[in-house]
Symmetry: C2
Subunit: 704 residues, 2 copies
């Protein structure tokens, strides 16, 4: 790893503990105890004016009194004293600080002001500050436990299992959750690089920590728990870096419900934000979203222990028929293939199992075959088969005295695995079994649903591509200049789109019925007629739309009618006239839109038009801009994409033209983010392949 | 519990083990060891001609040699010897037998024939037989471990935790899974009544075991693992009994995927069946379907430990803000309410927590408040609040020395709970914490997603009602007599529906263009014209449908055209003519249909018409017949039900008329199940409230 500004934070040569104490039933005492017990090799300086020594360590009255360079100060004193202590640290040349103390932005009022002053101190002095309200970090490979979390306590009777060749880094905007993930990962034998509790993020925030782990040579996969991102630009740049480095990021975002948001806001004073924007950003960078604790850990464990699979064909080897069937259903529900094995392979397998077993897939070897050693041989056969991409072994590991594999036979297989070989246990694994398997490099997954999701994410991950390069799509759209009013009419919105190079129907805005004939002379009947007013965004509600108008006399009557409807509907509305357009050809109706998110800026959206968007929430978001490949990926994620591919014998739709529209609109939203707040094209009709699209309706909202 | 035919099976006074052995590394020896070690109080008769004694037990050369009544024989000998041994058992008056031996129907061929002869023996002699290929049962309260599963092994160093006041019964068509559920339930401290492995079910099958547990006074909730039901009538009657007794049934059905079905078929030789029919039956009886092992156990644990809640308002008390937020999101995603607490209650809570905590809900008491004892007091306040229905406590239980509650304070609260008080731990619970909490009657739930599902199922369960009483809906439909051809045309299908009392449009089948004028004279234009042929079920594909036909001359031309299209489309098709109908009024298009399932008989279905059914799988099934209340419940389960309730300002639809149609069609399908195999009404248009429905198209398939 190249030098990183946070190197001295995570690998300090010296640590001062401001507020250190002898009482290890309380936080300051626990922190010192854990730091020493884990074997920190650098210098430790307790700071506390009310004592001279703690154990064999000299205790200093102040940070200045130490008289040596300090890489990291950990501050655990009452909130009101923190700013002063940090000022002293900065004056003494301390490079980094973690503020454990609570009672800042999460309380609001004056306490929030204190936090603002801490942030200001960091900016002014260059000393990097993590917290306040943080639980610290644990750098496991370097044995630096700078935290009071009991999960880092070293227990002689439960030695650390290390089953995975790769390490997971954990970043959490909740110390409780960050160290709970660590606690669960440890139990599974997953190796961990760093656990980072980010606290209130007065200075150092989650994005910068992500940047660190993306470059950290000890970290191969990253687990994040997010309440709200405070450094979105840094975060997105770090996400890009993680994606480029090929490190998978598994992320949980809370604050999705009103109550969750309330909790997150009061907890670390974060703004939880609109979660669709988060999901859009996660999707862009290939982050793997998980809503469950064990599932997130299981996904990380799969990445830490298995090589990337080449495809989605899973072979299941099981000692229990019922457990094998359940596993097959679970994996199939995740969209994976469990193909029947080729005949030749079945014949080889059949020779190794009892007559009442099955060689088909799931391969049911029955409990008997465990004793005969058939399990290892079958795994070896599957490892060599070109028809299998992933091997799932389903066993029972509850015994305190026996495991169903022979260590010396399975260890070389696991060490040399070219495709994932993953173990699920339908009974809870005993400590004995965990220990034995870990020695062979095997993680025993105990959760079925979580395991299914982990295998699926491992397989799908290899399909992700970052896509976007800014230059790939030629010049951007021509940008209309000047401010955009808060609400444009359909006609005005379409003019803006046209100005930006997006084709809209050849419509005419007729301001007076006398101009109707001239307008219609250039159009073929039938036509659509739509009232135009910035004050009537929902035209149908106002009786403001008529379609299939067949000829001039009818059109004139309808013109008057539309104006009359609008006047009645909203007497104070300013009416621009009636937009006359040729009827749009038939096609699949979709929505394309953009909004500006407070955290991440413009977000582009595509969905099936009509009721499906609302009823089935079949919409996909990405941060704008997107390129054509990303737009196609977005379309592909829609359940309703089947409609575009030619549904029930209908022709394939012009998906390329839809993708081009998404791309174009997304660039427009990104480039005009300071003047446009929302674009909604609803519906746009997608015609058959090669026949393009028609924008039927559009609405743009500006920032005025 | 009243006497049940299986009493002597589950509570035998004497057990013979045929094939008993001294070698307790093998199955026969293990079985004897576990039976004795668990403390079976009755007589044990080992049977094995090749030894005289096993330990202090006399070993008999044959079952006849025992010379005493035997309630239960457990048979563990090679497959080919099993039938003979069972014949000897029957001759000796043995009441029940369990065949552990494998190598029967799961192998097919001659081995399957042996199983058929075992079944025949049971029928002939009245001796009840479980298995073959079974893993036996464990009757925990009576200490009868009639199984070789290592999960029943009694370990002095890990005493059985019993945290729940109620007991769960387990029925599994896979011994591995049944005892894995037991293994996991034990770890959580859930009390278990019986664990039953049903094996190949030559005689005793899952339905009869369900009937037993539904009446068993030791069993308060039931967990089932199903591959395929072999005694559907017994099963449904037992399900009805369980529902009436108020015992919740949590069920997993595997064989949902092709591979899962393959595995289930080879495993216990069961036909996995069409899973929609299973789900329909489960829904009818209020079974709680789970697809995950830990989730199923968590749901059972919730029912075993908590009283039924009165509503869905959850209060969350947490020591970690992040964990509280995650819990809130998880519960909200399950559709539960997490309302902000009333001001007065917040004020009381605020006095018990630090200034940087939150009293809103989630109630963030912070780690500090644990030490001050605030947790118990807050739970007590919430218990008394009329604004809270469920209390969820989020804690960390990883410590080996401390738990965050005081036993003497929390125990009386739990014992007297009138609403559920449920504990989730975000770290893995230590054995110490599990033991301490169990002593207070508290189950520590370690899985977040599973916990959320469990709380949700606990709440939703109280909304279930069995509904149906056969007499409630008046006389059944009038049944058309005689056989029904394999495929009826639309016109014939509609005639059959009309005969059964279901209103269809006043259409006329025009066989010759010359009859068109007369037919149209009774109808108002516009009309729809549709080709009629048993050989052309998909009329549109054949160009066989024209709508909005405006007058007679046009109609005549179209008549000829439709006939010509059909002739070209399928020259050999027998053409009945053209059905002319008035155009249907607009309405929400739905599908109503029935199919006959091989296991459960007629199943009725409702779904949104058009693309939604296929794209979004928005359909609901029930076994036929259903009453109006059940039909309304079916409609209510559709995501698209929003369309019927008045969507985006459209009028409410006539849901009552749709429910009446579902009811009527379901009774028709049930009553005609021997002559009709399928009914599909697609679409039926649901008009505004009070305006009824119009059956636009219908297809009936008969059994010929």
């Amino acid at each position: 790893m190249p030098n990183h500004p946070l190197d001295s934070f995570f690998s300090p040569g010296s640590i001062a503990i401001i507020g250190a104490s002898r009482d290890d039933r309380k936080i300051p005492g626990l922190l010192l105890t854990f730091l020493r017990r884990n074997g920190f090799a650098g210098k430790i300086y307790p700071v506390n004016p009310s004592c001279d020594s703690i154990g064999d360590l000299i205790c200093y009255p102040s940070i200045a009194a130490i008289g040596e360079a300090v890489d990291l100060a950990i501050v655990i004193i009452p909130a009101r004293a923190v700013l002063g202590a940090l000022q002293e640290c900065a004056a003494a040349g301390v490079k980094n600080a973690i503020v454990i103390s609570s009672g800042f932005a999460e309380e609001g009022g004056e306490s929030a002001d204190m936090q603002a002053r801490i942030a200001e101190l960091a900016r002014r002095t260059g000393m990097r500050i993590s917290g306040p309200n943080a639980e610290g970090f644990h750098n496991e490979p370097q044995r630096i436990a700078a935290t009071f979390s009991p999960t880092v306590d070293v227990k002689p009777d439960a030695p650390r299992l290390l089953a995975t060749p790769r390490r997971v880094g954990i970043i959490a905007q909740s110390g409780g959750i960050g160290f709970a993930i660590y606690n669960r990962a440890k139990a599974m034998g997953v190796a961990v690089s760093k656990v980072i509790s980010t606290g209130n993020e007065s200075d150092l925030a989650a994005g910068e920590f992500l940047d660190y782990l993306a470059q950290d040579s000890d970290t191969d996969a990253i687990l994040m728990f997010i309440e709200g991102i405070r450094d979105p630009q840094t975060f997105m740049a770090a996400a890009q870096r993680a994606a480029e480095s090929g490190k998978p990021v598994i992320v949980t975002k809370v604050g999705r419900s009103g109550a969750g948001e309330r909790a997150a806001a009061s907890h670390t004073a974060s703004m939880a934000g609109w979660t669709a924007a988060y999901d859009a950003v996660f999707a862009k960078y290939g982050f793997i979203v998980s809503h469950d604790l064990d599932e997130a850990v299981a996904i990380a464990a799969a990445f830490a222990s298995a090589p990337p699979p080449r495809g989605d064909r899973v072979a299941i080897v099981t000692v229990s028929g019922g457990a094998g069937a359940w596993m097959a259903d679970t994996l199939a529900a995740e969209g994976l293939q469990i193909p029947e094995l080729p005949d030749a392979l079945q014949a080889q397998v059949r020779a190794l199992i009892p007559s009442y077993g099955s060689p088909r897939n799931p391969v049911d070897i029955t409990a008997q075959a465990v004793h005969s050693g058939g399990l290892q041989t079958i795994v070896e056969l599957l490892e060599r088969s070109p028809d299998v991409d992933v091997i799932v072994v389903v066993v029972s590991l509850s015994s305190e005295t026996r495991i169903p594999v022979k260590q010396d036979e399975i260890r070389p297989l696991i060490a040399a695995q070219r495709k994932p070989i993953l173990f699920f246990t339908y009974t809870l694994p005993s400590q004995f079994a965990r220990t034995e398997l870990a020695a062979s490099g095997i993680v025993a997954f105990p959760g079925l649903a979580a395991f299914g999701r982990a295998v699926s994410r491992l397989v799908r991950r290899s399909e992700f591509s970052l896509g976007w390069s800014a230059a790939a799509d030629g010049p951007g759209p021509v940008l209309p200049r000047g401010p955009v009013p808060a609400r444009l009419s359909e006609h005005e919105s379409k003019l803006l789109l046209r100005e930006a190079g997006i084709a809209v129907p050849q419509g005419v805005l007729v301001r007076d019925v006398s101009a109707l004939a001239a307008a219609l002379s250039e159009m073929t009947f039938p036509v659509a007629m739509k009232i135009q007013s910035r004050d009537i965004p929902h035209k149908s509600e106002a009786g403001g739309v008529r379609i299939n108008v067949g000829e001039l006399v009818e059109a004139a009557a309808i013109f008057d009618e539309l104006i009359a409807h609008a006047r009645r509907f909203k007497p104070e509305a300013g009416i621009d006239g009636v937009l006359v357009e040729p009827m749009a050809r038939p096609g699949v109706e979709m929505i394309v839109g953009t909004v500006n998110d407070g955290t991440f800026g413009p977000i582009v959206m595509v969905g099936l038009g009509g009721i499906a968007t609302e009823l089935f929430r079949d919409v996909v978001y990405r941060p704008a801009p997107v390129d054509a490949a990303q737009a196609l990926a977005m379309i592909g994620e829609l359940k309703s994409a089947a409609l575009l591919r030619g549904f029930r014998g209908s022709p394939k739709a012009d998906t390329a033209a839809l993708a081009a529209l998404i791309t174009h609109v997304s660039r427009l939203a990104a480039d005009m983010k300071d003047s446009v707040s929302e674009i909604e094209i609803n519906p746009v009709r997608i015609h058959e392949e090669g026949a393009g699209i028609t924008i039927v309706d559009a609405l743009i909202a500006g920032r005025g």
